[in-house]
Symmetry: C2
Subunit: 354 residues, 2 copies
Amino acid sequence: MAVHAVIMAGGRGERLWPLSTPDNPKQLHSFGTAGSLLRSTFERTREIADSSRVYVVTNEQIAARVLEHLPEIPGENVLAEPVGRNTAPCIAYAALTIARKDPDAVMAVFPADHWISDKQGFTAAIGFGIEALREHPRLLITLGMVPDHPETGYGYIAPGEVAARGASHRLHRVLTFREKPDLKTAETYIEKGFLWNAGMFLWRVDTILDAFRVHLPGMHALLSAMNERPEIRDEDVREFYDRVEAVSIDYGVMEKAPDVGVIPAEFGWNDIGSWDALGRIMPGDAHGNTVSGDTLLEDASGNVVWATRKKVVLLGLNDLVVVEGKDAILVCPRTRSQDVSRLARLASGDREKT
Amino acid sequence: MAVHAVIMAGGRGERLWPLSTPDNPKQLHSFGTAGSLLRSTFERTREIADSSRVYVVTNEQIAARVLEHLPEIPGENVLAEPVGRNTAPCIAYAALTIARKDPDAVMAVFPADHWISDKQGFTAAIGFGIEALREHPRLLITLGMVPDHPETGYGYIAPGEVAARGASHRLHRVLTFREKPDLKTAETYIEKGFLWNAGMFLWRVDTILDAFRVHLPGMHALLSAMNERPEIRDEDVREFYDRVEAVSIDYGVMEKAPDVGVIPAEFGWNDIGSWDALGRIMPGDAHGNTVSGDTLLEDASGNVVWATRKKVVLLGLNDLVVVEGKDAILVCPRTRSQDVSRLARLASGDREKT
């Protein structure tokens, strides 16, 4: 029952534009960490899986750069999606790839672009989940982050009865998943002990494939057709992605499957969903400015300032985001951070996706 | 009595940093005009002087670029100062160069980096001054801008009795020059009919050389030594600049000379002394934003936004200066524009000149 880790690295990271761009997205950047977010994610998977069993699903545009960041993994473990189709096809493609090598595998799925400050805490939670799968092999397990504030930017998970207990962790049955709430609703969720849905999963590969068969039969049929090939070629992958429906693993499977578990965990997690969020998690200077690169701040506090090639000079301004990307410079109040992905599409003239 | 025009183009333009830098200063940039400020200044001189009699005093760093902007003028008319020594040595060097060719010359001096919207009005005022010199050959004439607000960033000139009248201009004797005032003082200056000192001059070349002899005898002695050479070589110029004292023409001559005249003039003049000033003189968009280059503004008003290579995106902010220079990006409130030259020196580590 070897563990195979899948890193989902196909995101465009629009919320951290203009630093993050389609050809150099968020997961390839470092945010005060030693390596890129992708590299940090990989370093965490090494605690639970041999690097020969670490897979990265990404897009064709950055596949080569993924291998530059992770030279330890076999080139064939970089699974390039010809087109993004949300998380269910991404996970299905990875699951099939793993199952063909190791039908008995345990599969762990992690986004490439999240921030986790407590690596040991992460390893302990995942380790507990892997153990729990021995007793509950039919469970689809998700990690639920214990909230510290009523965040409106995350989905929530309602934990139910306890299915397994470890020294410092518990596995609950999931009662229900909830979409991103408004602030009042988020506050009630916190009171009720709901958890943040962080998009990290643990399951046996045969279990998730079976769940696809039941809950996403169309996708499963395409997957089975691909599986009939003695070897999965690029054109088979292309055909799968051409025809498969775009759907998230949450909506397509987790919210429908009867046997879903959640492990509440606290390991300093954040999805860095905005420049404002980054300013909150990265240490600031004496005036609460989070800065990177060559900057000069005077009479300025609470700003998030990111310089890449040029020196960014800020005078007499507070609580702003100032980011120099490769092709664009963004200036806005931190409170408007949530508008950034829309601006990113607007600025690149990609209006149809707005 | 041919007219020779001298354009002073040695400025570093620190107040419009980071667009303006020592190797690409303000006078080489365009601000909504067809060509650079230098080019516009040259176009104005063509109304009064043949291009063979237009001289540019500048620094060695940008001398070649000056000729690129003004291919019509002879290369020998670009006078490169080995080091900046304020305006008196600059004007002295140009005056000597002109006097050796044409001792009877009328000399007109203009800064290269000013904004003038009414070219006809400018030509008329200068034309009147040239005529007035026939009657008053010993006068040092300066142009005085009729103020439209109590500006604290300019020096003032108090006009006295009228010495000559034209169809639409008058020449006054100057009573006194005043340094940049505080706001209250500026208001009294406006009430008294004082004029802005714009640093534009008209005189016979023999008159200004004589004024140097009387008021700046040390400089005049160095000039005379240089004049003894059959040909002025680079090393002669270097020796002059090595030894000459740095002093402004205002302080060194105009404020001391007994025969000084001023012509009040109105031709939409501005020295573009700050980003804020630029925002006031350049036409803005419907929300009062003055923009240049590739910009995207949303929910933003009253800003001055200058993009050069990257797209500058501004969201939800008002009355800011955002400027992308070659090596630096500046973000500050328009009300802090006067701090920019200090920041420019700070940012380039040139602290001793602060």
